[in-house]
Symmetry: C2
Subunit: 410 residues, 2 copies
């Protein structure tokens, strides 16, 4: 018998019929003898409806009141799910964030969980009940309702799992797991049985948006085994844990990519301290997020070349800004390109194996793909290539690293 | 400067535009220097929408979860009203029943208020804020969300006014006060400036459903002056208080009537102890509510006649039941009539003035209206007449007691 925290998002609970399907799924796990805590989001569309009501009154709703308003969304879902469970003869009880005492700071609309009082949940579990908790919401020390911001229901589930020392936290989504890469690009893409927290963070931030980054960080920090599964199909999904022996055989876990990149290059910048700060500070001040940053020493040793990438939507604004700052600094030239993409190999295995990079570059060269930028970290290698090479590049790499096959024992 | 509790029902807050109109109205009272606590219901249609969601899952939702679900309705309204107030530069704060600690018993769907902790509300009022409270809901000693049942928002307002020792509790509705009778029947019907709690109870229970009976009882018990006003028009409305000198001049305050009555008569019942219990017990066991009950001694002194009225919807069921029981008791005959109405004169003045009844009966006789039943209490006289005489009878009485004119000093 295990204690499992399950989380179902807005699409999974988007109608009374779907809520009944969730109840059926929960009961299948219960029939296996598990204790279950279920975290749910607002029914899909409900949050938008509530925001629409607020916007009809004011463009700038007070954050405290927006939380009072939005938190009703999950409250509706918890009641309906318990109704569906009890109709099936399963004792169950619903709790709002405030009732189960998910204590947060007072940062309305983006609060952070500080503490969870698990006494009430434990008492219900011991009494044989399924406990249904509203995701996304909490309460501050003064009793004000707070919300956790985007993806908050995942965070609620992980935090509850940590507080309860649950055996597993299962996140039900509209995909059946984490894949070696996007199956729409590579039909041979394979579902991973396991992946490490670090790899999942790289996969998520690089565009495989299965889970919210914050909840993965949180799960890693508290060592909560996280499993991604499908709400709509049966299956084992993908388990996200810390590295173990079983994983060491895989060099590469997956290939992430990002279509929304644009790069800006400043050539011939005087090579002085503070240059990077002056260039990127201006960009950051304009609230533009920067992804990759690469600096090369130019041949003359007096000046340097500087390249960074931004989201494609920010490209025009960033380019104009950088042109102005670069002019003030006496840079030789500013150029940009918003038809690029980033492809990344991700895998904890690459830490201990040489030759990954050369295999990667060789595979791309064989297809005639010119690499425009390279950046590496301990568990990933990213390249920037022309937009038109995205699919070709991802497929070539998937093939070169045999990702369609499960890793063999070494 | 007075402390006023105001209550706005579902129609008054039925859309973002109407919520803005409520904010404007609240601010007009605030501009007069009053401290304000505002109780609101769910937006009209919202409760039905939520019940629809529950019914899509189960015909018998668990009462605890129904309360969790339905209480979101008022929570949406409080947030939106505070948004509208703050947009107008008025500091305000919303509270759910749980947050402001409206402690109730644990009778879900029909809970009763036990205690209100007014500390938080007082602190906000002292800080110059308008306090907006969700009506209809509370919290039990274990922290479970409860609802007060139908008309619960009125009860919340009165209970808050009692706890805060407010100067007045104002109930905003879609009528501009309590009338001497229904203006649709008597165009000369006049708005009453004042009425006593006892009279209001008789008027309400007899069909002038302006206020929920429970909230009037509650206001009377805690001596909270209650005022009924229009959400949509300006005006003083009707003040409901205890009897004072100003009122003593009026013999009759108003005429209530009820179109939904049906009567059942059992003739020739053996006149023995326990007869009434046996007849009415069967009716009560079938969950049929009985209104008037009249028993006459028959001429032979051996048997009695027994008549009672029920709601017209229950007539067929009640008649069948009574036929069976009366047969077992050896009654001579059972008859019934579901085309009757009840007309009632209501007024605390009739306690100290003779002749009201005879004026009443004379006025009806003059119009050729046959009285089928009579029943009296300290402050009302009710007659049952044929359905077709309803309008004629009410108009004749309104005229006979000069209700179109404000009472003169005696």
């Amino acid at each position: 018998m295990a204690l499992i925290v399950q989380k179902f998002g807005g699409t999974s609970v988007g109608s009374p019929e779907r809520i009944e399907a969730v109840a059926d799924k929960v009961l299948r796990y219960r029939a296996q003898g598990h204790q279950l805590v279920v975290v749910v989001s607002a029914m899909s569309g409900e949050t938008d409806r509530l925001i629409g009501l607020a916007k009809a009154i004011t463009d700038r709703p007070p954050p405290r009141e927006l939380d009072v308003l939005l938190s009703t969304g999950e409250q509706v879902t918890i009641a309906l799910l318990v109704m569906a469970l009890e109709k099936r003869g399963c004792p169950a009880r619903s709790y709002t964030g405030s009732q189960v005492h998910i204590l947060t700071d007072s940062a309305h609309n983006k609060a952070r969980i500080q503490e969870i009082d698990d006494a009430r949940v434990r008492a219900d579990l011991d009494a044989g009940r399924v406990v249904v908790v509203a995701g996304f919401q909490g309460v501050d020390a003064e009793g004000n309702i707070t919300t956790l911001g985007r993806g908050g229901s995942d965070t609620t589930a992980v935090a509850l799992a940590a507080a309860l020392k649950a055996d597993e936290c299962q996140i039900f989504t509209d995909v059946d797991g984490v894949y070696t890469t996007d199956p729409r690009v590579v039909p041979e893409a394979r579902r991973l049985e396991r992946i490490t927290f670090e790899e999942m963070l790289e996969m998520a931030s690089l565009g495989s948006k299965v889970l919210q980054i914050r909840s993965v960080e949180f799960a890693g920090k508290y060592n909560v085994p996280l499993r991604v599964l499908s709400s709509f199909e049966e299956g084992e999904g993908t388990l996200i844990t810390y590295e173990d022996e079983q994983m060491e055989n895989a060099l590469i876990s997956g290939i992430a990519f990002n279509r929304d990149e644009a790069k800006i290059t400043v050539l011939g910048v005087p090579d002085q301290p503070g240059i990077a700060h002056r260039l990127l500070g201006a960009v950051a001040d304009a609230n533009i997020e920067v992804d990759m940053i690469i600096q090369n020493i130019a041949p003359d040793d007096q000046t340097t070349d500087f390249t960074f990438t931004v989201h494609r939507n920010d490209y025009d604004r960033a380019l104009e800004l950088v042109r102005r700052v670069a002019g003030e600094m006496g840079a030789r030239e500013v150029s940009g390109d918003n038809r690029i993409v980033k492809i990344s190999l991700v895998g904890v295995g690459m830490r201990s194996h040489a030759g990954i990079a050369s295999t990667m570059f060789e595979a791309l060269a064989r297809e005639g793909i010119n690499i425009r930028m390279i950046s590496t970290s301990e568990i990933k290698i990213s390249v920037v290539v022309d937009e038109k090479y995205l699919e070709l590049g991802v497929r070539a790499l998937h093939d070169a690293f045999h990702l369609d096959q499960a890793p063999q024992s070494a």
